[in-house]
Amino acid sequence: MTEVLPDAQPADTRQAETEPRYGVGERRKRFDALGRVRGTIRYTGDEANPPGTAFVGVHRSTAPHARIVAVHTEDALAVEGVLAVVTGRDLYEVLGDRIYTGPAFADQPCLAVDKTRFVGEAIAAVLATDPDTARAAADEIAVEYEELPPVYDIDDALRGEAFVHEELRPSSVFADLAHLRGVRGTNVNYEYRQILGDAAAEHERAATTVTATTWAPPTHHVPIELPSTSAWVDSGRLEMLSTTQTPSYVRQTVSDLLDIPLSQVRIMTRPLGGSFGCKMYDRLEPLAAALAWTTGRRVRIDATREDAFLLTTRHGARVTGSMSADADGNIVAVTSDVRYDTGAFADVGPRIAAKSGLVAPGPYRIAAVDVRSRCIYTNKVSAGPFRGFGVPQVTWSHETLIDELARELGEDPYRFRRRHLLREGDIATVGTKMHSADFLTCIDEVTRAVGWDDPTPEGDGRWVHGKGVAVGMKAVLTPTIANATLNLNQDGSATLLISTVDMGQGSDTIMSQIVGEVLSLDSRRIHVVRADTDATPYDTITAGSRSTYHTGNAVRLVAEAMRNKLLGFAAERWGVPAEELVLDAQGVVHEAKELRGSLSDLVRAKFGARGATVTTAENFTSWWVPYDHDTGLSEKVTEHWFAGAAAVRLAVDIWTGRIRTQHLAIAGDVGRAINPTLVEQQLTGAAIMGIGHTLFDEMVFDQGQITNATMLDYQLPSIKDLPEKLTPVIVESAHRDGPFGAKGVGETTILPIAPAYAGAVRDACGVRITTLPLTPERVLNHLADAADPGKAGR
């Protein structure tokens, strides 16, 4: 029996019983796949410019470190079409020290005020009627500099003869950095230590020790969509549309910058055309907001590719590490000195130094560790977050060490790792008990995929063959906050409001699958609203692979709250206890009394109106135990771990140094794959990006200046760099608190790629390369050095 509705209108029957649901675990397509293929979805830069928009051109510093004596703007102002020229000093007159922003340290002025700290820093902005005029006029600005001693790299910085910043300025964002305020005479803005046992004594007693100094260069994200920001003032409110992964953060930053309430700032987003970490925290937004606020004009800043290279990078990092084993082959000690080059601004480098430094020893059972991880200022482009958040750099070190240690002991690199890898319930060196970090299955699966125990081809005298394996371990960003609001529409569809930004990872699609699973709805009937701080609730950031777990949990909770609310409607209507009701694909059912009502009917009956909505809101906040100040240990340093592995079979051309990838297998433990297709794309996408970092992709600096900041010079993996065979493996070791057991995956397989390749090169031709990338020239140099033992490896 189906309940007869009280009104005479026919029930909405659009939700057919046979519709597929596309819930959790299903390979649903992106809802906007056709729009992405035909190019009809609108990204930020596709939005039209209203008449009166002022386009911004930026004049950039030509000095790496200099006091700004004078900025001559007259010639730029004289250019036809120029509306205004604004210098850092002009903005400082209005904003004062609030001009300095940044997530960890308030050290980034949106226009340099008194001194410039890198070649390419923004010095002055031109507002003009069209972008070409703005850029041309920016070239007419002349700046007088008084040069200061430059700090080109971490060695210069640690010598402490010249300082990038006179004193440290922790921002108000992270309370734990407050004690660094006002510290002078250093380029080290943060240091993390991890001390477990007595590593020095264990090294001393050990039977075997290997030591290596590794270098991972700065690299750039190069999403194909260029950054773009528009800002305008609407009745005293500052509104922006921007390419950002962090709308909630930007809202707070702009509110602080302009000293106006949060409610007077609105940040809107569109889907991002890729980001990988470069469109977050303070990029173009503070400058756009300051210009719109101070001039009253609607402004638009479109970065060119050359500009984009100057906005942020991945940290170059040098790691000096040692790993020791006792006579039985147990790992007794790891020591690691990690130095991250953060460039002119700390950005989120201090967090990287700590949260990536904490995994510097690797995911192994180790008796004693001593980690020193530092974030260091230099006069170069600022480094910030980039897929992997500093962990690829330390993985490059610990996987190099354990590979060499295995070889030193005459053991198989796979089986040696396997014996020592952390297992469920083990305590990681940082002090946290492991859960749902299935390194063993990951390493077993990738080695099985490449046929680890199959014989390696003989080679032909020119091409030599080898195999390599590595693992990667990363903590998810913790603690963070996620909120979700859900509107169930009277027609049985739903609208989900979250501030997670879809930048290609497919979050809009999987979040609707979670709602669909809980409410037994076809997930294609659930629309996800793009982050807009006027409408969508606070979310810490979309980064660090945290959204599936954090926002996913908020979304699961909000859908469960909706289910309970709808059951309550039916219970009230039918006069039965809500506990006796269930929600299935046809709606709410009371089995015993044979009562049934579709969601559409229930909402209609409750409100007596078509088009009504029912709203629920929920929060999910993760927690941690802050690490001990002296030892860096914590019993819960993170909400969950990422575990991944890569195995590769490759051939090295010993005539030219070229590397050919025959088979790359990668695996990531995702807890539970909410959408296996999207998970596989993240696994392979991260791995191929990792191939670029391994073989050729790097930013080259000459006296602080980037020399390859165009896409003609900066090499990225093309379709021709695909391995001959590529095998992604999804490992599902459910997390007890994840939404349906799920956790994120976006960074997992970028971590182990470089060391797996270097291990394979070592296997193929006997040379251990510790400097990335593994360019043909570098391979040849090592081969030549190996042939001539008198020379050291380069």
Partner: protein, 152 residues
């Protein structure tokens, strides 16, 4: 200023351009095309690809006046049931999607010249387009599928 006619997906648009106006800027700012995009400004990424009389052009390097009256195709002008479009959709050949229209048009060009390309011919033809999400395995699948669909 020159008044030229940009013939985009069969519709003529009269637009005023300078001698130096780039085809990409004319298409985006004057015609309202969203599927051709600037990614590098130096012809190295393929995001700005359009077809001129069926041949691929990096519109970030081309001046608009040269294309006065030339039939131009942009990805948003392709129908939903175009075999290349449907093959990209069915192969999940997109992540962020920003570069994908360029790959779609390169595939149109490839299949017009070679109805059943080998995998090597596919990657040779698409090598100049960069997908930073590295959707390459799915793109190759999509091109193979499009070749099959175009043949029938």
């Amino acid at each position: 200023m020159n008044e030229i006619t940009l013939d985009v997906n069969g519709t003529p648009y009269k637009v005023a351009v300078e001698d130096t106006t780039l085809l990409l800027d004319a298409l985006r700012r004057r015609v309202g095309v969203t599927s051709a995009r600037e990614g590098c400004g130096v012809g190295a990424c393929g995001a700005c690809t359009v077809l001129a009389e069926g041949r691929s052009v990096s519109s970030c390097l081309a001046v608009a006046v040269r294309y006065d009256g030339t039939p131009l195709t942009t990805a948003d002008g392709l129908p939903e049931d175009d075999p290349v479009v449907s093959s990209f959709v069915d192969s999940d050949a997109m992540q962020c999607g920003y570069c994908i229209p360029g790959f779609v048009l390169m595939t149109k060009e490839l299949l017009s010249e070679n109805r059943s390309p080998s995998d090597e011919e596919i990657s040779d033809h698409l090598e100049g387009n960069i997908c930073r999400c590295a959707t390459y395995p799915e793109i190759i699948k999509a091109v193979r599928l499009a070749a099959k669909r175009s043949a029938t």
